[in-house]
Subunit: 436 residues, 2 copies
Amino acid sequence: MPTSSPATAASSLPAIAQQTRDSARNLATQPTAVRDQALESIAQALEAASADILAANQADCEAATAAGLSAALFARLKLDETKLKGAIAGIRDVARLPDPIGAVQLHRELDQGLVLTRLACPLGVVGVIFEARPDAVMQIASLAIKSGNGVILKGGQEAVRSCEALVAAIHRGLAQTDIAPTVVQLLTTREETLALLKLDQYVDLIIPRGSNSFVRFVQDNTRIPVLGHAEGICHLYVDKAADVQKAIAIAVDAKTQYPAACNAIETLLVHQAIASEFLLEAVVALQLRNVELRGDDRTLDILNITTATEADWSTEYSDLILAIKIVNTLDEAIAHINTYGSRHTEAIATENAETAATFMAQVDAAGVFHNCSTRFADGFRYGFGAEVGISTQKMPPRGPVGLDGLVTYKYQLVGNGQIVATYAGTNAKPFTHRDL
Amino acid sequence: MPTSSPATAASSLPAIAQQTRDSARNLATQPTAVRDQALESIAQALEAASADILAANQADCEAATAAGLSAALFARLKLDETKLKGAIAGIRDVARLPDPIGAVQLHRELDQGLVLTRLACPLGVVGVIFEARPDAVMQIASLAIKSGNGVILKGGQEAVRSCEALVAAIHRGLAQTDIAPTVVQLLTTREETLALLKLDQYVDLIIPRGSNSFVRFVQDNTRIPVLGHAEGICHLYVDKAADVQKAIAIAVDAKTQYPAACNAIETLLVHQAIASEFLLEAVVALQLRNVELRGDDRTLDILNITTATEADWSTEYSDLILAIKIVNTLDEAIAHINTYGSRHTEAIATENAETAATFMAQVDAAGVFHNCSTRFADGFRYGFGAEVGISTQKMPPRGPVGLDGLVTYKYQLVGNGQIVATYAGTNAKPFTHRDL
């Protein structure tokens, strides 16, 4: 297991990456059944190694306790039998998902006997950098194998024993199959993270899973495409034509159902015509859930809460705090969102279909929602089966990304000796461009 | 026309970009007919301004002559009546292309009354940096407007008068429509190029059109996604089962039909079993077209040509030079391509279908071709109608990119008050996830 040994120096990383790339190229040509069978083999190897894995995790947890790790991080680090069984079941779920590779996206005759096909194919090698939670190893490795990609994992230092035990089991599982264990690699040192970001020759996509500042750091230090989001500043706009009860239920859910999630709302925008009616009732529901409210001047005329400052409009609280601003018009709400939002998910509560349509057309975000909670922005809820991340970038893949975020495509052109000179110049033969 | 004035300071660029963004948001909501009509209005304004445009270009050409501009650059700079008419006809062609925005890519019921739709929508603002050729202004502006995007153009200094006259006419054309002229902006100074690359708040995609080193410079100096290719190192592999005549015709076309193109081949790989037969005949055809040949040691045993060095395998000649290497196996050819190729377009000549299939599956490139010239890798030849560029990146869009490279998508979710709490926890309501 040279790749999971602490002795692995960053200087050998290109060699590891090249090996992963080579193994991944072979994996990419394996049929669906072989890749799915490999996932089953991994699941069985993890079951067989459960005791070792839990013992390794126990050692990580003891070290974490000694080091005074925060309760939140500790909760993510801790792996018990139930969590491990759940993660192994998740691997079998991934095996059952439709194969993301091989789909024909375009099939076109350019001329008689010259046929173009666009085929979904794996990206190659994906680098994933994650924090404490060791269960991410199983989830990511299974998504990578399903989609025909190699993966270089970099786990958090606090989870090193757990990650090594997990990857050792995954390697044992793969050793029973036609897929080289080296498609899954584990890095364990902080220096390797930086080195990984420089490997644009070998790594096709980086998925950072961590804090906003970490994602931003990754984006600023690599030429490799990054799938992720640096911020989730989402809004709910309560229109003058909103159903107040619906709007309150949505506001409460979007703020409190899981406040640390990136798709939770940070700011409530309220149309002035409905402000008193809505806010006086909403404040009770929100404060009942211990939400701290901060308002602009006009909100303070209605509610006795803290003053919101300019900084509040661009802050992702990730906590039970909600900023409130009263707007005069739909346009003002849209402008506020397009200025301060992070293009993640934005919602409107209104019974007016035309107003909703304008909002959904003009708001610039991966998700624009009407009369439902922003918390629905999630790969599982969208029915993607598995989520590799949520992207707030404009270029696809955007929003919640399923397995299709781990594939690209290639054009195959098959002829019988055709040359371009035939189709160029004064006597150029025309193309037929007929979709098949 | 503040944006095309030389007085525009780089410091005001964020303001210009913000203005473009605002105008583009309005453009994005305009129906197909309005955008197509705007293109017709631009075409008419350009026709009306033809004399001014040609005079401005004449002044640019005189300055270029005085400055000793290379003949190649001068040819690209020079705009005559035929070229201008052709470019204006191109704008009307773009108007006739299918609308790339508004397409429904996914339509799914998550639960009764909770419906998810994925819709193609514009990116926002595209920054395009190009060299001498002023006709690019017309092509890019029309593609941007068709796809609902704002565009910030940065033309070469040598074409400044031409670009200003063209953009002035485009603005006059747009002034007759519901689309704000500020969706098309022109920058003219070198300082503004660097400043543009820093505007990741406002610009969603950069398309550099220039030398490989320029594209690389852009990639290294921006956080904005870059659509382009730094290199085009393409190969033709002549398999042992190749039809020699077909292989020669393809090699000649792929090298000589337009040697400066990124999809021209730089290296010929030849299976040892066919090397003598193929090379002895191919050398005649290639040298007849003035191709300079460089070979590895084994090729030199057959042909009396220059020695190829290691550097040749990774050089894009963009000229009538071709490196030749003899390989023992298909695997060796694939490994060579995957090591030295730039993932642009790779071809095999063989009559063996199985060999072709292996090559096409295992070669890692945007285009993998069988028995046809690499020169077919082109948006127009693929039937995309217009090409915004060719991408050698792994993430989509990859290969020749049409109008669909200028669009992204957004998820619209429409409900009737649904909240996530209903679908979470022990009594979670299941999703239906039914495609509509």
